[in-house]
Symmetry: D2
Subunit: 369 residues, 4 copies
């Protein structure tokens, strides 16, 4: 299936960093969903670099919806959305010189030298703009059904934000607040320290990584499959698409390595006719299936590989050793931009599981007024 | 796709813990691969509990190959393998009483009470026997092509093994040694300390978790896709099927959160006409595509949820609070058994990517002698 | 996807004619569907050869359900069903001698000589027993929801049955009657003439073909997709799996080649608040999507390729010309057996479209009493 | 999978007749394939209406390739191609009035009134322009590997062309000739009679149907699967996407209903070390798998449903009976335009089977010169 994801609701991604456009096709959307172009634009703005910490590339992200929307609502047919690449300076890229930490060498093996090497081509984070645009439509529809998704920078350059609340109104309030925030942290002071640490690394020609923490509130219990299409499997499959994500964990995740069972099992009780757990070490998923508690996961984002320190590398055209001193426009950190990509990708993956279980009309409003 | 995984090479899993049998169907295997039933049996033995640290359930794992093998070799048609459930004591399980950390509550939401609740039913780790049997056939074929997969217990109950070597002959030697080891550690003394710590937890009616570290040597560069079907995405999708896995990371993984780009990029150089990296922080994958270095990943395995301490829970039949004191036969740790499942699942996922890229005949020997 | 069919509800088929067993795995079934083993057995009897016109191979078709059923109902987990091969005489088959009209030569190219050649191996019509068993479960569930599927021998050996009624109670009555009939024709006298024509061909060492006509009553409007997963596309994809089917048409089908638009468009009107068409030239499908009228299709079934007349052929082992005089046990006609396979395959394909649209629980009864 | 087709090589289709654009995304193409924009344009011209027999809508079909091509060759990444809709007169279409023989009523059930109703919206034959553009790239690559696909109008308005030759150089010559022909018939005199019969029907406000016959020369033996993904199943699945196709047959097809086995089996012999058949009643496919002979199939194309005679229909907005007298621009016959769509769709489906078997690089040239 390659560059398509999903079974009942699919997304297909295309484009190169310096080609005419990037884009996505969403198929399997319910008909009648409102499409709010302002919200799409706002999500794209959250993804864009800003201020002193971002790449100098400035894209207007003027998206065009080519199909699947009529009179402001989804038609139920494939929705294609494209975003032209406008602020492109291809001269910054040199053919053949592999950038450490990037996909240049893997791409050469895969595409035999035919890939568009400029700006990383199809591997570029630029394609996440299309993911964000597609995800915005689904995020909005999920919110209408009471399903909230939100992500914050839990850790960046050694600075920690406080973790998300475990559930209830506190969590929903946090998710709502994070959704529109230009820099997604719960503790603004921590955010400020992160920004300073990023600037420090940038000043040294280096870059930083970190951890994004996400929660999904309002998912029904019973989504996902015991084998293969587990909620964890489907989400992680999608999340690892995000460039620089190198690890995904659910609930207490890797911290459970040193715990005992009595510290990881979530005690249950009945509350208002519904089963709840008193803790959520399992991150809302048992046996691969949602249990009705918030789904909680964390992604580690490696430091941006584009750094300005000199690096040992290889000239793939001549197959000889070389040294690389990057120029051009590069982010010293992408976590604050990537978090809206995480929300989008999670929305797409979960909407697919919802559509599989409840049918392709599930996301639709009650009817046409 | 639910309980089927893969595109070019697919595996379909079926069965319940206390039903007649568990099994798998492998489709897309090249014709002519030797099927060594001794090796399948040996792999199943590695998965079986043993000695003082395991569940008392004793399955002979007498598998039967129903199709797809003729005169000792794969035919290229679907290979169905079943393993009967023999040592079953269903009286140990009570309908309706949800076990914390298990899927009982999620299963009720998903299957509306129609699932076979005995021993976890379809959610049971028992089904990994079928995965191991299916995986054995693929592991053997990969080994014939120079691709070695191996896993060890990197950490268990707070005790650490030493990490795998980074590559080269040292890594291949370690993987080969781990493959047949009854308790997969590199440092036998650490293994002995792990076993004592497990026994200690068991004596207290509790269980322990840990981390499995795996490496794959010999994969060609160029496998995987930039978006969605990344090597990390495909592998993690499959790995999260393994009960109790709650996190997956590649290369340096979560440790990269606090590092800088200059500490995460892998310097490259040409060696014998081939590009290699001097470090492998990226775990053999850049941009979702293999780069020719060993693929390295780690899974966190949560402590077995079946513990003997009393737990607060819910009676799902009556929807009222209840208390649970487990009896029956349960493992205080499953890492040493799960590692052969990790190898099997990784083999299935990677063989699918290989088949997609090189065609369905790729795994085949040169021809019929 | 190879030997698996479907997206939301999948069926995976395995087995060889002379191997231990044939079988199928059904995944995506709603939980709580009653499984009537008597009905499965009855459907298998309809598929079995009988009397003077069939092959002498006599299989008891003692099926075993290995998973996915608990206390008489589906659990919602994968349902594996196997049917052992018992009455096998492998001595009748000679390696390497290609039988004209069979897949022997195609199989050699595909499987490089590793396939089980006995009785056609995986290509054998014997595998349709597993399809029929799997289909029986779905046919029964569809009937509970008011969806009836039935097939008759419209034409065989030059003898014509009368066509199915266009719709309404007359069609439902016919479908109900055909479902259990040992020889599925509407006009018994035509059936008698068919049987005599078949016997005549058999006496001459030859075989006959014909046409099966099918209808599905009770399908909701709105199933299927405009492109690729059209109802016609999905059904024909599945139907061409049935050995010997070489053509599929919908509604008036090939007869429309010589008609005008005014003779092919179906006039519409509102009846009891519902849109109906006065004719059904389009076979219940417009633009790939059901329109609420009965879905009508026809399959041409080529004459059984196993004939007793001497034939020119090739010895694939020696790559030289050869002559073939078949012995063994072979059907001179398979239409009356194939029709229950058509019903089964159509049920599986349509239930998948229903599950995609309405969710995986759709086939389920209201709840557990 | 809905509006996506294929496993190893996929095509995703989007667009509405009167929306901004139609388009397709091709994924899984080998890198390095030359992309000849002239050939794409030429194929699009063959699909366009022309002269006295076509609709008056005149689209320039100015396609744009948004991704997946770099320096004139495929990159191996998803190739998105869009074609803007330019000559659109939406005033010709009235909401709610169902056109008999069209999908309006089925669309209402499926999309609940949210679909773009203008010109048939997503159901429009206009989308085949995108299929033709995508197919052109694959047709060209197949031709480079010696695989030729061609289609002619075997029958239209009661006039018959002579059938394609059975194989060998004669067939290849015919296919080559048909490929560029503006009106694809083997017998020009028959073509002239067809055009007159079409004009006659048009003068009477009516439309005509017919049969397209296609052949594929040069396919290797061994493509396709015995069950489900048979060559016939995969091809028919794709072919039924073409609007107005209501039947597909392979080899002798429905004519085999009245034949005996001895008249349908293809005698075999060895010729130059290769197995060939003396006849090709099975259309190059046995047991669902190619046998090395040309793959031959026929599609029946129903008469265009847009006719100018008054028709009984339904107003879907008011749910009441209505009468329809079409205006606007409509084709009295589409066979001569549809044949290039058949070639394109067949190319996409077969290239997918080839990629599955031989790997995603198979279509690629030897290397980058």
């Amino acid at each position: 299936m390659k560059n398509t994801f999903g079974n009942s609701l699919t997304v297909t991604l295309f484009g190169e960093s310096h080609g005419p456009a990037v884009g996505a096709v969403l198929d399997g959307l319910a008909p009648g969903l409102p499409v709010d172009e302002e919200f799409i634009a706002a999500q794209l703005r959250l993804r864009r670099p800003s201020g002193g910490t971002g790449t100098a590339r400035r894209e207007a992200d003027r998206f065009a919806i080519l199909s699947g929307v009529f009179e402001g609502r989804t038609t139920g047919t494939p929705l294609a959305i494209t975003i032209p690449n406008e602020d492109v300076r291809s001269g910054d890229y040199r053919r053949g010189l592999a950038r450490p930490g990037h996909a240049d060498c893997a791409a050469m093996a895969k595409y035999h030298g035919f890939a568009d090497y400029r700006g990383g081509g199809h591997f570029s984070g630029r394609l996440t703009a299309a993911l964000v645009a597609a995800g915005a439509i689904v995020l909005q529809a999920l919110r209408e059904r009471g399903i909230l998704i939100g992500t914050h920078v839990l850790r960046c350059a050694g600075v920690a934000d406080r973790p998300l609340s475990q559930g209830g109104d506190a969590l929903r309030e946090e998710l709502g607040r994070l959704n529109g925030a230009p820099y997604a942290v719960l503790d603004e002071a921590a955010g400020e320290r992160m920004r300073r640490a990023i600037e420090q690394a940038a000043a040294e020609g280096d870059s930083v990584g970190g951890i994004l923490e996400s929660a999904v509130a309002g998912l029904p219990a019973g989504l996902g499959e015991p084998w293969f299409d587990t909620v964890e499997g489907v989400l992680s499959h999608a999340l690892f698409s995000i460039p620089a994500v190198k690890g995904v964990e659910f609930g207490a995740g890797f911290a459970m390595a040193d715990r005992r069972g009595s510290e990881c099992n979530d005690p249950m009780r009945v509350e208002e006719g519904r089963v709840v757990t008193l803790t959520n070490h399992n991150g809302g998923v048992n046996g691969g299936v949602t249990n009705g508690m918030p789904v909680v996961f964390r992604c580690v984002v490696k430091p941006t590989p584009s750094i300005f320190k000199p690096q040992e590398t290889v000239d793939l055209a001549r197959m000889e050793n070389a040294s690389l001193s990057l120029e051009g426009r590069h982010d010293p950190a992408i976590l604050h931009r990537a978090r809206v990509v995480v929300d989008s990708v999670a929305a797409l993956a979960l909407a697919d599981l919802l559509a599989l279980r409840y049918g392709t009309d599930w996301l639709r409003e009650g009817g046409k007024a």
